[in-house]
């Protein structure tokens, strides 16, 4: 029993991280139907951005987490946003009217490029880098369950930010413009919505969330590497699809499902941790076969 509860807790924390990244995938896909494979790298870059910010701080500031930590968040998020905006402006925007698969290849190219750029140009990034210890130490212990405080913070941030995002998209003027553009860009344009601005903003939101995820990743796991974006990006994309691309709620729930499958399948399914990934993808395929639009996606109506 205690193992089950502990594994549930582990799964929730893993899901929380994936959720923050998955939101970026789902929003971008919802608006321009692009699988932005490079989004995972935005997450990775933000982590290095946060680390760089810390490294550049004067020594006395490094010692006070209350100052250093917020600055790291700012640094990481700013880098993530800059990368995302440049990426949208110079890589994706020129391809808006290109054949459908062209931007996908661009996304893969951006992904490879960002990963390699960090590897080659960030000092010592060829192997894992330890993350500074500015995060709260210790763990939350509830009975037999043990979750590091950073993990708790990750879950709180993930859920909190996705609720805020959901509210913003549903309630605000810009949020309405986003939904309008997602449904019908041409009509939205006629109604005075500037699609370029909406799309950039979508990328920015995704980058901010990925930035938060990047810093929290470093804090929670104490070290970062250039591969972190790719693997978590694949999971996040899977989560977005599982939940129904375009749906904010779906992405978050999909992410938690993936986190839980990974820990629970590793614990209880035959083959154990050897096949935990396999179970994630098996569930994904089953969901898609029986509910092709994902758990919370809009069903696609035949047009005629």
């Amino acid at each position: 029993m205690s193992v089950l509860l502990q594994q549930l807790a582990n799964g929730v924390v893993q899901g929380a991280l994936i959720a923050l990244i998955a939101l970026g995938y789902t929003m971008v896909y919802g608006i321009i139907q692009l699988i932005n494979f490079a989004h995972g790298e935005v997450f990775m870059v933000s982590s290095y951005g946060g680390l760089a910010t810390f490294t550049l701080l004067p020594d006395d500031l490094k010692k006070s987490p209350a100052v250093a930590l917020p600055l790291m968040f700012v640094g990481g998020i700013v880098i993530a946003v800059i990368v995302a905006v440049i990426m949208e402006r110079f890589a994706y925007r020129p391809l808006r009217n290109a054949p459908r698969l062209a931007p996908l290849i661009t996304a893969l190219g951006v992904s490879v490029f960002l990963q390699e750029a960090v590897r080659v140009w960030y000092p010592n990034a060829k192997s894992n880098l330890p993350y500074p210890k500015v995060f709260p130490e210790g763990s939350l212990t509830l009975g037999t369950i043990n979750v590091p405080w950073t993990g708790v913070l990750l879950v709180v941030l993930s859920v909190g930010l996705s609720v805020i995002l959901q509210t913003y998209v549903n309630k605000s003027r810009m949020g309405r413009a986003m939904r309008a553009t997602a449904q019908d860009p041409d009509t939205a344009k006629l109604m005075g919505v500037n699609p370029d601005r909406v799309i950039v903003l979508t990328f920015v939101f995704g980058a901010v969330l990925a930035g938060v995820a990047g810093i929290m990743f470093g804090g929670y796991l104490n070290n970062i590497n250039i591969d972190m974006g790719f693997q978590n990006g694949i999971f996040a994309f899977t989560a977005a699809v599982l939940g129904g691309v375009g749906s904010i709620r779906g992405a978050v729930i999909g992410a938690f499902i993936i986190g839980l499958i990974k820990t629970l399948a590793g614990q209880y399914m035959p083959g154990g941790t050897q096949y935990d990934y396999v179970w994630i993808f098996v569930v994904l395929i089953l969901v898609l076969v029986f509910r092709p639009q994902g758990l919370f996606g809009e069903p696609e109506r035949v047009r005629a």
Binding site: Y29, Q33, I35, F90, A91, P94, L95, N97, A98, P99, L101, A102, P103, L104, I105, T106, L108, G109, V110, S111, V112, F113, L114, Q115, E116, A117, R119, V120, I234, F237, T238, V241, V245, G271, Q274, Y275, Y277, V278, F281, V282, L284, I285, L288, V289, F290, P292, Q293, G294, E300, V302, R303, A304
Partner: protein, 582 residues
């Protein structure tokens, strides 16, 4: 091509750039051309470099014999002369041609200049140092830029259209000469900079050559020659195919006929055959597949297990053709299984199903599922193929001509690629192929035409996977070992990139795409750890300037005439990717 005669009202007018440059067009071209010629005769480096002289004696020592112009200086000279010719002779689409040649000149000058700067340790190497002056690269670059501006000044018009009709024998002759030139160009491209590890400047020489070749090709395309040739070769399709195949088989007899390039070419061929299979799925049926390399892996595993390797799971050794057929069939069955969710899942959702399948495959292979993959130890020691006692990995002689090792693999793979091309072409121009394209274009309309879309999509997966399985069987024997590490996500991405880079639905495109994605990294070995980064950047740049691929399918090429993608004229692609690769 008749597309320019009929166009929808929405079509954008050709981009006209009649700017302030207009009156300066010809003078700029003249100066640019002359500067190019002068640059070729100027010294490029102020001193000898540590690794040996910059190619073709570009240092001051060269002035012992200043008119023996070779190598990249020969290219610079040629480009300079061509710019002058293009500017003052009656050439169709003059501005375009001058601009293309200008880009070639600028790129060649820039690459050599940049390399000398870096290798020589500073700008002194290409300017003045210790009383010596060497401004060749700067003069060349200025000349190139002037010619580009001149091109805009003269005005960028649509490429020339040639209406010349040839009698069949003359057409055959033209095609023969052209394809022979292609063969020569390919061999030259492969061997520039030397083989092996001897030349420290091989990467630079290669890039410089690409700049030259790109400039000349773009100029030919601007004149309209390329389009004319492609129409001609479509008219005489059978003859073209025979000549091309003959050229491919002649490659081992050229300078590139050494073991190394035979190995690389054989690998390219294996991936090209796989890419053509993927092209059926992605290019024709429009189904995005992100886990395609798994089918190749399945084929390779099947062949490995029947090969008699020490760790093969089944105690049976089958002759290669039988094993290959089984490999194809098994891969095909898996293809149909993976494709079956298409009955319910649409579009990008299918992409993730295929991605999931790819991940499941690698993970299962890594864990030695069913004892057939030998897990992380892989299946090594797969014997090379042999036929009539000739082992495929040994060198081979025809009479007095000794061919390099690996040539038999090369020939086998050329035949494999030819066969997959034939399969692809026959299917594409058939009832089935039309159904696939219809599904790609509009699935509901296709169903309303009586096409059972689900079945046809599964068929696409099945055939594509079968081809990949066959290629995988050859792969197993060629490489001698089958490890899950050869079939990871990145490989699927590379294959997809090959298809899209070459042009979806286009056969030569898939081959060219595979060739580029495998030759470039080989040629850029000098850059070692920068290779992947350059690869990523190249993908971005090529998609930016040529989203429809390098050799678009006939249909898609026509689309292009109407659509001004991203506001960039279509032809610019020829030059632009080159700098990015630098």
């Amino acid at each position: 091509m008749s597309t320019s005669t009929v166009s929808t009202p929405a079509a954008a007018p050709p981009v006209e750039q009649r700017s302030a440059l207009a009156p300066l067009g010809k003078p700029f071209a003249a100066v640019g051309g002359v500067l190019g010629i002068v640059a070729a005769l100027l010294p490029w480096v102020t001193f000898g470099l540590k690794d040996g002289n910059w190619p073709d004696k570009s240092t001051l020592q060269f002035f012992d014999a200043p008119f023996a112009v070779t190598g990249f200086r020969w290219h610079v000279l040629l480009l300079g002369v061509l710019i002058l010719v293009a500017a003052f002779a009656p050439v169709p689409s003059k501005g375009r041609v001058v601009r293309a040649l200008g880009w070639g000149l600028a790129v060649v000058s820039f690459i050599n200049g940049a390399y000398i700067t870096v290798k020589g340790g500073g700008l002194g190497a290409i300017t003045a140092l210790d009383g010596d002056v060497a401004f060749g690269s700067i003069v060349g670059l200025v000349g190139g830029v002037l010619a580009i501006l001149a091109g805009y000044g003269i005005g960028i018009e649509l490429p020339g259209q040639w209406k010349v009709k040839l009698s069949t024998p003359v057409a055959y002759l033209v095609l023969l000469v052209s394809f022979a030139a292609v063969l020569y160009a390919v061999a030259a491209m492969l061997t520039t900079g030397g083989v092996g590890t001897s030349n420290p400047y091989a990467g630079a020489i290669f890039l410089s050559f690409l700049g030259f070749a790109g400039g000349v090709l773009a100029a030919l395309s601007g004149v309209g020659f390329i389009r004319w040739l492609s129409v001609l070769s479509e008219e005489h399709r059978v003859f073209s195919v025979i000549v091309l195949a003959a050229c491919a088989l002649l490659l081992p007899f050229t300078e590139a006929g050494n073991e190394y390039w035979m190995t690389v070419a054989a690998n390219i061929g294996i991936y090209a055959a796989t890419a053509i299979g993927l092209n059926i799925v992605v290019g024709l049926a429009g189904l995005l597949d992100l886990g395609y390399v798994a089918f190749m892996g399945i084929g390779a595993l099947v062949a490995a297990n029947f090969s008699g390797a020490a760790t093969a799971h089944f105690g049976i050794t089958l002759p290669f053709p039988v094993a290959a057929v089984i490999a194809g069939v098994v891969a095909g069955i898996f293809g149909a299984i993976v494709g079956s969710p298409t009955l319910r899942v649409r579009g990008d959702y299918l992409a993730i199903v295929t991605l999931a399948f790819g991940e499941i495959f690698t993970r299962s292979a890594q864990n030695d599922i069913g004892g057939i993959t030998n897990g992380s130890n892989a299946i090594p020691g797969i014997p090379p193929l042999s036929l009539f006692g000739a082992e495929f990995n040994k060198s081979f002689s025809i009479g007095a001509v000794k061919l390099p090792a690996g040539v038999l693999y090369y020939i086998l793979i050329v035949l494999l690629v030819a066969a997959t091309m034939a399969v692809f072409a026959n299917l594409k121009f058939s009832r089935i192929g039309r159904a696939w394209i219809a599904i790609r274009e509009d699935e509901d309309a296709a169903r309303a035409m009586g096409i059972q879309t689900g079945k046809k999509k599964i068929l696409a997966f099945l055939i594509g996977a079968t081809l990949a399985g066959l290629a995988g069987a050859v792969f197993a024997h060629k490489n001698g070992t089958v490890s899950y590490e050869s079939f990871k996500f990145m490989e699927s991405v590379t294959l997809l990139a090959a298809v899209i880079l070459g042009g979806m639905g286009s056969i030569p495109g898939a081959v060219l795409g595979a060739a580029l994605l495998f030759v470039l990294p080989e040629k850029l070995r000098e850059f070692e750890e920068y290779r992947l980064m350059i690869f990523g950047l190249a993908l971005i740049v090529i998609m930016r300037f040529r989203p429809q691929g390098l050799i678009p399918d006939r249909h898609r090429r026509a689309e292009l005439a109407d659509e001004d993608v991203g506001g960039v004229p279509v032809d610019e692609v020829h030059e632009v990717p080159k700098e990015a690769k630098a």
